[in-house]
Subunit: 123 residues, 2 copies
């Protein structure tokens, strides 16, 4: 296992990467990750959804822990939609379908933590 | 192991608890935790430091992953101080001494993730 070293960076200095076709208008910044930072237990990402965009509607065997920074949207968790805005905290459990939609007219930004591969591949 | 269930809450609805004598002017909100939420891999906390306050100057065998929400401060990591403000991302590795100080004249608030007890007691 690699040893992580201290990191201090502004989020805006971390590249914003397109998420892909299943997430129109969405970019992701890997603020703390495995390949560069040797994140020991979880990766921290900042996700930005343009007006009208949405994150993938999908399911995976690990949780999300989210904190909404800016904008307005809604999140589907299982069968239920929830309105979210700045300061909303969301736990999406493992194995539950989810998607975030930007329902506002400006950028919707939130933090998203996920466990590292060592923990997600345990099932 | 408990199964976590979906959670959607505003941070302000989570109680702010005093951290203690070694952290004057500091409160902590356990946004996603083990006892209530069965956080699978890491707990998410929001820490608020009043003007003039600071978090404990301490060392522990697990990392912090931080995101500064509001205010201005500085963080000591090992022997080096770093200025931080809104949008700053910080990784404090396990086993490294650290403290956050509020150097502004308003509240300094940041998110702080830590691994759950199952993972911290391995180290």
């Amino acid at each position: 296992m690699s040893i992580s070293i201290p990191k201090v960076v502004h989020y805006a200095d971390v590249p914003a990467l397109p998420v892909g076709e299943d997430a129109p208008g969405v970019t992701i910044r890997w603020l703390i990750d495995e390949p560069h930072d040797a994140a020991p237990n979880y990766a921290l990402r900042l996700i930005e959804v343009d007006a009208g965009g949405h994150t993938p509607n999908h399911v995976h065997p690990y949780e999300h822990e989210n904190y909404v920074l800016e904008g307005h949207g809604r999140v589907l968790i299982g069968l239920e939609w929830h309105e979210v805005g700045p300061g909303t905290v969301v736990l999406v459990p493992a194995g539950v379908r989810h998607t975030y939609e930007n329902t506002g007219d400006s950028s919707f930004r939130f933090l998203c933590g996920i466990p590292v591969s060592r923990l997600t591949t345990q099932g």
